[in-house]
Assembly symmetry: C2
Homo-oligomer: 238 residues x 2
DNA sequence: TATTGTTATATCTATTTTGCTTATAAGGTG
DNA sequence: CACCTTATAAGCAAAATAGATATAACAATA
């Protein structure tokens, strides 16, 4: 019994990829490290899994502690387990990602000045995959550990899920225009879309309810505001 | 430094979902447990991750030790981390899956009589998801731990990847007929397909090379044998 | 109040994709 | 050599999609 207590065990961490839209681009929440290794460098927020909490609980705890986010849809991404990925020793990282409207990050940014919402730079196209980097104050900034790989894999996963799930809506406020939705799709997929075709395709899904309201503060003809009608089919399970 | 050594750590295991086709059905390799907990019951083959091997290395080691399989395409599935998933204590399981033609399992079955290739029973349809069980000698058999959840999630993942990747070919020998390929697709998706449309769709991908050879031992008109032409676009990275 | 600039929305057509049917070909078997 | 069954090819209608064009709606300006 408990034979596995005889062995050395890897440490298990959770890292989070928290994304949002800023100016028609995908952005990610990063945190400046204040300890070695990689002190002073930017990294994804994360922390170690406690012995008495599940992986999902750990992810939610870190989500709350680091980004002050609650009630956000969160999903496991991948588990990174290379030997040399952490200079301190053997650390396995179970990564999760979440998508939220920008408004949701206001509290965290006000609370903590080591947080930053950085635009993402993706150097590859649809099927390839590969790492992705971030931009800090106009200049490329290297992420600590293997976090650029993690970021890249998140993009790849998002691109895969974009077409058959409702992830795009997680980045938008409750009420949004069809143009907003198209901008999100284009930011994730990385390629422009045909407007009438996109609009028709979205309306045909049956996911959208027209509210009758229109956007305000528009210089030109204001677009109608829509909202998701069907909260039932959530993305549980994986 | 090494502050994470102060905490109790979960054990980290790898479990494998090794699938193949038998009589037009998806099957999975299971192993009878000879120790508590769940002694005598069927489970997915697995083992603990050593401190000096990466997750991928651990998966390949277990693949080789338990199923005698080499040169098989393998992919990480999901990491299960509920508190009570193992009665012995805190164990996190990083799961991988692999698909191989039935011929690849011959050696393992001859070597080890605690292995069994079991037909999979899927009780849900396309989008839902849920656990999946196995059949042993005609009767339903419960899998140990949360392995029915793991199996179910593998099916869900396969169904998602079926349309835009080449996973189906992993279940076939080097040379196969278009009918063989259709049977694989139907077994994974769980629904019948239109024959001429499927054939056209497959040929249009440009993935297939006609060999000029035909199947033998056919009672009626023998079908042409095809093979994958493009090994380049492998499913690396995720 | 009419005009203009810009975007939203509706309509229409051509093209591609898909589902299905029908016809023909190619073996084996008796 | 008829015949049974499946493979393959060809054809056609329905559906989905891309693209272009036309019209509508609002704000700002004159």
């Amino acid at each position: 019994m408990k034979m596995f207590d005889d062995y050395d065990k890897p440490a298990v961490a959770v890292d989070l990829v928290l994304m949002t839209m800023v100016d028609a681009r995908l952005n990610v929440l990063i945190q400046r490290r204040n300890a070695e290794p990689f002190a002073g460098q930017w990294a994804l927020p994360g922390g170690f899994v406690q012995i008495n909490e599940s992986l999902d609980d750990a992810a939610h705890r870190i989500l709350k502690e680091k980004a002050r986010l609650k009630n956000v849809w969160i999903e496991q991404l991948y588990t990174f387990g290379a030997l040399e990925r952490d200079p301190r020793g053997r650390v396995i990282s179970v990564t999760y990602f979440a998508l939220a409207p920008t408004s949701a990050f206001a509290i965290a940014k006000a609370d903590k000045d080591d947080l930053y919402i950085a635009p993402i730079e993706i150097a590859w196209s649809d099927e390839t995959g590969g790492p992705a980097s971030v931009v800090y104050e106009g200049k490329p900034a290297a992420l600590a550990f293997d976090h650029e790989r993690i970021l890249g894999m998140t993009i790849k996963r998002l691109r895969g899920k974009l077409h058959y799930t409702k992830i795009a809506f997680s980045l938008l406020p409750t009420k949004f225009t069809l143009r907003d939705l198209q901008i999100v799709h284009e930011a994730i997929s990385g390629s422009p879309l045909n407007k009438p075709a996109f609009r028709r395709r979205m309306l045909d899904t049956g996911w959208l309810n027209a509210t009758g309201e229109r956007e305000t503060a528009s210089a030109f003809r204001p677009a109608e505001l829509y909202q998701l009608n069907d909260k039932s089919t959530s993305n549980k399970g994986e």
